[in-house]
């Protein structure tokens, strides 16, 4: 039997969803465990003895000195590092508050501030080179399964290169932007979620970050303007999950 790959899951500051989503793979998680041995998983185990990882999954933003130290440790001790989820790839919601950290702390904790070492929240990709970036708040759990299986088989995982609209059309959902006039960021957002929110009859809120390349945010902006949304609304909507671009 071949040796299993060592997998580490490192959680920085986030909601816990990107680590939890791995547990939500249920029986597929046991399939992954045929190829991987989880040697660090903060949320699920009390063991912490290994110091080399074939693959490291890092979730969350760097928001404290502790996060930064943990990230560096993960990078230095891993062969292949995956920034997992929109916090790690684009900064997500906590990265989008555009005040200096001192003012944010003052607003929250009062004049004494907070002597613990908080940093301005930034994505993992701002600090270290990553081997793969998988966005999504959270990412689709089948995506991480596929990526880890690809790596186990020695295949370089493929990054999606189409907007949410493609999956929306494949599901034959009614276009909520055109038919209902709802603000939908589907045309300019990374696909891969199987258009989950349009299934709910609601507009995409852009949780997977902007799709680079041949998309047209200017035209999305014009459409939303024509629907009656003001500049401030549109700009905040655009920046909610992705103030930082990878």
């Amino acid at each position: 039997m071949m040796d299993k790959l060592k997998l580490g899951v490192f959680e920085l500051t986030d909601c816990g969803g990107c680590a939890l989503n791995i547990l939500f793979l249920y029986e597929k998680l046991f399939d992954l465990l045929e190829f991987y041995e989880i040697t660090e998983f903060h949320m699920a185990t009390s063991l912490s003895e290994e110091n080399h990882y074939d693959v490291a999954l890092v979730t969350g933003t760097v928001s404290t000195q502790r996060d930064l130290n943990l990230l560096k440790e993960a990078r230095n001790h891993s062969d292949y590092l995956i920034a997992l989820g929109t916090c790690a790839t684009h900064g997500s919601v906590q990265g989008s508050v555009e005040l200096p950290i001192r003012e944010k702390l003052k607003a929250v904790y009062g004049d004494d501030g907070n002597p613990m070492r908080a940093l301005d929240s930034k994505p993992v990709v701002e600090y270290v080179a990553v081997d793969f970036a998988l966005p999504g708040c959270p990412y689709d759990k089948n995506e991480v399964y596929q990526v880890l299986m690809d790596i186990a088989k020695g295949i370089e995982p493929v990054r999606k290169d189409y907007p949410v609209c493609v999956e929306c059309k494949l599901n034959e959902y009614e276009c909520v932007l055109v038919k209902k006039g709802l603000p939908c960021l589907g045309p300019i957002t990374y696909g891969g979620c199987n258009a989950a929110c349009i299934w709910s009859g609601l507009g995409c809120i852009g949780c997977r970050g902007p799709l680079p390349g041949e998309v047209n945010p200017a035209s999305e902006y014009e459409i939303l303007k024509d629907l009656g949304y003001d500049d401030e609304y549109i700009i905040r909507k655009f920046k909610t999950f992705a103030r930082w671009e990878p």
């Binding site: 500051t13 986030d14 969803g17 939890l20 944010k104 607003a107 989950a196």
Partner: protein
């Protein structure tokens, strides 16, 4: 001397504790939340109310629906919106799904390894595979309800002010009706298993909960009728933690499954009520460790209640009509029982529908003082008697009994 506990494992988020020893005695315990601050109240400030519940959901993955429902309730109260029973029942069903998902994660994957002496559920699965599978079955059922009501397993956006993007179908409700019945056997077994755990931690003196079982108009406590949090609960910042600490009339108090059972046993479904009566004496001692048993009884409650709601909705049929929502100036507080206890979302909204004030208080922040009190009590009991690693292990179990959700607790704010 300060004994530093390593970072807690098998809890959601990043936290640790310090035990201060002076003259050979345990003097103090400090519970430190080291997860970074996330500034949710700043994030929603100035934003249109329509988008706010989707953002608030991101506070926590394990209880995202509790956050979006609390947010929606706060917004609806600020805007003077009342929803019909159908919408209320579907929201309740969503919260029940979340309770099942969260309690089964906590009990089967995070606490059960302590019961059987394993470092984690994956390693426990080799000997107790059936049990892990039962936990996963309950959890998967809870998650299917979250998809149906919330839109996704994690961070769906289906719960909106005035109603839903999409309503459950007849087929989905029929499935809930069948599955909730089939899974009851597993939940009853969980009650027998977790009833074996010893008492540890402190005995809580005060209990706080919402006035309805899973949400409310106001809060209630062990000693008085309904009140708003602003009247009785005080928050303060700590120099050693990113979470704030709350006190009820100057004292530590407890929110969560155990307080819910003790304060609201009259609202339980028949099977859950019987189990509560059977274990009443134990539960009434108030030991925080019995929160685990209380959660197991709530698994039974959740399945029975999910069954009732599915039946009711199937009998009356789904109309699927949202209530129109118009922006206006107002203030409102949403109270929800997240799986781990009372959750508060408080908003002021301006005439154009934008958030002008927001305050969120999470169960883990409400329990912070109680967690410290429990750790102190347990450390005093064990220091000098047990060896250090046994003491640290027991202290970890004590923290785990609160089922703390640390991500949630780091944006407890007043602006």
């Amino acid at each position: 001397m300060i004994i530093e506990l390593r970072e807690f494992t098998r809890v959601e988020g990043n936290g640790k504790a310090e035990i201060v020893i002076e003259d050979g005695e345990v003097k103090d315990v400090r519970l430190k939340i080291i997860e970074g601050p996330r500034f949710f109240e700043l994030l929603t400030l100035g934003r249109h109310y329509y988008d706010v519940p989707d953002l608030e959901a991101r506070i926590c993955a394990i209880c995202y629906l509790s956050h979006s429902v609390a947010s929606v309730l706060g917004i609806e109260r600020a805007l003077g919106v009342e929803v019909p029973e159908e919408i209320a029942l579907i929201r309740e069903l969503g919260l029940i799904g979340e309770l099942l998902e969260s309690h089964s994660l906590h009990l089967y994957l995070l606490v059960a390894p302590d019961v059987f002496g394993y470092p984690d559920a994956i390693r426990m699965a080799t000997k107790h595979g059936e049990l892990v599978k039962e936990g996963l079955a309950l959890k998967a059922f809870g998650n299917r309800i979250r998809v149906m009501v919330g839109g996704r397993e994690i961070h769906g956006i289906n719960v909106k002010p005035g109603g839903f993007g999409r309503y459950p179908t007849v087929e989905e409700l029929e499935r809930v009706e069948k599955e909730s019945e089939a899974l009851l056997r597993l939940a009853r077994r969980a009650v027998r298993l977790f009833a074996q755990l010893d008492p540890y931690g402190a005995q809580a003196k005060h209990f706080v909960a919402t006035d309805g079982y899973l949400w409310g108009e106001k809060l209630i406590s062990d000693e008085e009728g309904a009140f708003h949090y602003t009247e009785r609960i005080e928050e303060r910042s700590l120099v050693y933690s990113f979470a704030k600490q709350s006190h009820y009339k100057g004292e530590a108090f407890f929110v969560g499954a155990l307080p819910r059972l003790l304060l609201k046993s009259n609202m339980l479904t028949p099977g859950a009520k019987r189990l509560f009566e059977e274990h009443r004496e134990k539960l009434e001692t108030g030991y925080v460790s019995y929160n685990n048993l209380a959660q197991a009884i709530e698994l039974v409650y959740s399945l029975e209640r999910a069954n009732e709601i599915a039946k009711t909705l199937l009998d009356r049929g789904i109309e699927g009509e949202n209530v129109p929502v118009e922006p206006r100036e107002g203030e409102g507080i949403g109270y929800v029982e997240a799986p781990r206890g009372v959750l508060i979302h408080h908003y002021r909204i301006d005439a154009s529908g934008k958030i002008s004030y927001s305050n969120i208080i999470t169960p883990t922040a409400l329990n912070h003082a109680m967690m410290e009190a429990s750790l102190l009590e347990e450390a005093r009991n064990l220091y000098g008697k047990a060896d250090e690693s046994a003491m640290i292990g027991r202290l970890e179990e004590t923290v785990r009994a609160f089922d703390p959700c640390i991500s949630c607790s780091v944006h407890i704010v007043r602006l």
